[in-house]
Symmetry: C2
Subunit: 152 residues, 2 copies
């Protein structure tokens, strides 16, 4: 099994970071504006990714596995790119000297393929979008996300 | 063994991307301005990372293991953070429809620790600095790199 890992430090209270991860409105403000569904444990959040032109380029559905206030958010991907099915994303939160530390994992990829590298880089840009959102009030959710190459 | 992987697509000829990876001047324009040494195979490149204030926060020395023009650059880290010793960075280049595709790996970490996540996110920002450098002529090498948290 292969994991993507990232770590960012956000200059904000852990409660603000948790709110951006544990609600549909929060996710829509840093990952993709086209987010809908239920963010309660057991609920499903649907995400769609569009080009600025409005063309849909992909999406996924994820089950909310765990919400541990101010500590952890965990999702399992149920629909989406084949490589993502049954993988999990986990955000572990802690506080350190004025920062909220986010240790992120996109866990249990069956194998490392070229798409894994793309998703890893893309996750970094979305985690920095989360940081920007919580620190400044404005993130860079799709379709305004950072373009990293031919695969968007 | 744990690997960090990333993938970016750069709108430029592969020769321009290769030049930025295979020379000290290139590395200094996207990774850290404080780069020196020999970029020939078998040579050693020394990198230092400073804060904008000039304070040194770290560095490493890497051996150039492989230079395969327009195809691959591979380094092995010989000095630096303990977790980096004997790990390798590899940049595999290919061309696709007007893009140079960079498949990057920072390979052979002994274990996944919190620092792995930090380095993964940081690598993403430096690969996007490489993309910016080659596409626009201006990268974001240290000390002007993107700050991602308390660990810089």
């Amino acid at each position: 099994m292969i994991d993507i890992v990232h770590r960012v430090g956000i200059r904000a209270p852990v409660s603000a970071v948790y709110a951006a991860l544990s609600t549909v409105e929060g996710v829509a403000a840093w990952w993709t504006r086209n987010a809908s569904g239920s963010s309660e444990p057991g609920g499903t959040i649907a995400l769609d990714f569009l080009l600025p032109s409005g063309e849909r380029i992909g999406g996924m559905k994820m089950e909310v596995l765990k919400l541990d206030p101010d500590r952890e958010v965990r999702w399992r991907f149920r629909e989406g790119p084949d490589e993502w099915i049954d993988t999990e994303a986990v955000f572990s939160l802690s506080e350190d000297d004025g920062y909220t530390i986010v240790n992120f994992g996109h866990l249990n990829w069956r194998e490392a393929v070229e798409f894994t590298g793309h998703c890893s880089t893309k996750w970094a840009t979305f985690l920095l979008s989360l940081k920007e959102l919580v620190e400044t009030g404005k993130g860079r959710p799709s379709p305004d996300d950072v373009r990293i190459g031919d695969w968007h």
